[in-house]
Amino acid sequence: VCLPACLFVTLTAAEPWPENATLYQPLKGELQYSYLYILLFLMCGLPVQVFCRANAEYMSPSGKIPFIHVGNQVVSELGPIVQFTKAKGHSLSDGLDDVQRAEMKAYMELVNNMLLTAELYIQWCDDSTATEISRPRYSSPYSWPLNKILAYQKQWEVRRKMNAIGWGGKTLEQVYEDVSQCCQALSQRLGTQSYFFNKQPTELDALVFGHLFTILTTRLTSTELAERVKSYSNLLSFCRRVEQTYFEDKSS
């Protein structure tokens, strides 16, 4: 059962977080943005298992992956998931005042707007990357001719979206510039702090980590994007620190 976010508070507050919460994502090798959610739940101290399903995109209520299946509810997308965990009584941003919360929301939108769009652009609108990496990877669970159809359909869909938001006319160089600009803004905001707001991690930290980690570890035709991110040393050390704190314990 998928509920709109506004009903969460009234209906789900009563039930505690169950032990069998699962996160669904498409493919085994590529964790995409799952890291973001895994981290979020780790930070809140909530257990979650990760399942890989090829048709995760179709299972998701809104078509966006990954999504979580908790109890008898299915929730996708960052906004609703954050509200859902909040309704269950776990929130990372309670300690922030109004101005800080405004800034946190704004920076989260910045990451969504620039980094996510840039990643999509590079994966699907750059011909070499699309041909060599994205299309084969996307179509790997399926057999011919479905794999070809679905891969091209996805590419066409992403290109339409890029045109609608005005990114259609951008060159790859301009997209890299935008990513640099976004990273610079994040780097300046982070400064020398451990996390973006005080000493406590918030949803913004999870989001930034999820995206940066994805950029740094995803294989692309050129390493330009990863190099640009690496040039901001405080962001790089931020990623390492979060990885060591939350993920090394998990694997050990």
């Binding site: 809104s62 109004d98 101005v99 929301k105 910045l110 938001i165 803004a185 300046q188 905001r189």
Partner: protein
Amino acid sequence: MAAPDELFCWEGDWGLPSISTDCLVVLAYAQFAGAPLKLRKISNPWRSPSGSLPALRTNQKETLSRPSDIIIHLRKQKFNADYDLSAKEGADSLAFISLMEEKLMPALIYAFWIEPKNYVDVTRRWYAEHMPFPLNFFLPGRMQRQQLEKLRLLRGDERLEAGEELEKELYRDAAECMNLLSQRLGSHKFFFGDSPSSLDAYVFGHLAPILKCKLPNGKLQQHLKTLDNLTNFCTNILQLYFPKDGRESFSQKTSPHSEGGDFDHVPNKRRKQFLSALVALGAMLSYALLTGMVSIQHAHHEALEEPPDLQDIGSHHDHEDEGDG
């Protein structure tokens, strides 16, 4: 000194220098940075060099369309309204601009283009009245389809349609965004310090149309009016940087009333009446000529002069028939 760049933008109305958010952003930034631009306010997007508005035609005959590109170009020309911002303030600007694009813009698109009553009563009428013939027949409809498509792609839902649930969701996001902007602005005059920056231009561009345009379904405007600091922010910028357009709205407000209602307020009324009468007359005349109700003068005279011939022709025919038979 090189000739100033030319900026093509939509015409203004309701006390605003332009009715389009993107145009307002560029105009506001140009005013803040003191950039001399040759303004061309038009209502026909096909006359713009890029086919859409706003469009900046630079000295090097390059055409820029996106507000962000135009602002970057002006900055390169040393018209920089963000000069005094610290690194963190620059980062915050970027973040809040992204916030507005994600949360406020979809609601704006919905309120002006998708919501049925608003679209028919205000938006489509405005564009149809201001665009030249024959664009006013099909262009507003095409623009509406483009906006619906854009909204669908932004939300990632191909089957998006106007409806109460969508409206509630979009307006809720927009209200939250406005609240966040209001919290960030606080009691300051501008977002960063005493002089306006690019973030102020973006906020102004998004909020001014909501504030000034009277829509039948005006929930966004109601919410904005509860946020005093944002309302004052917009009126402040209008008074300081666009005083002429504010004054124009006053004179415009009085004239429609004197003409007795909106139906009489048609531009070029006399010319249109004359043209319609001419076209109707021409159509009637050509129909009469083609069907033979009215024939050309000299053939008519011959027929009048020789009526006896008709009888002769008739008798000739009889003779011929008898001859053959």
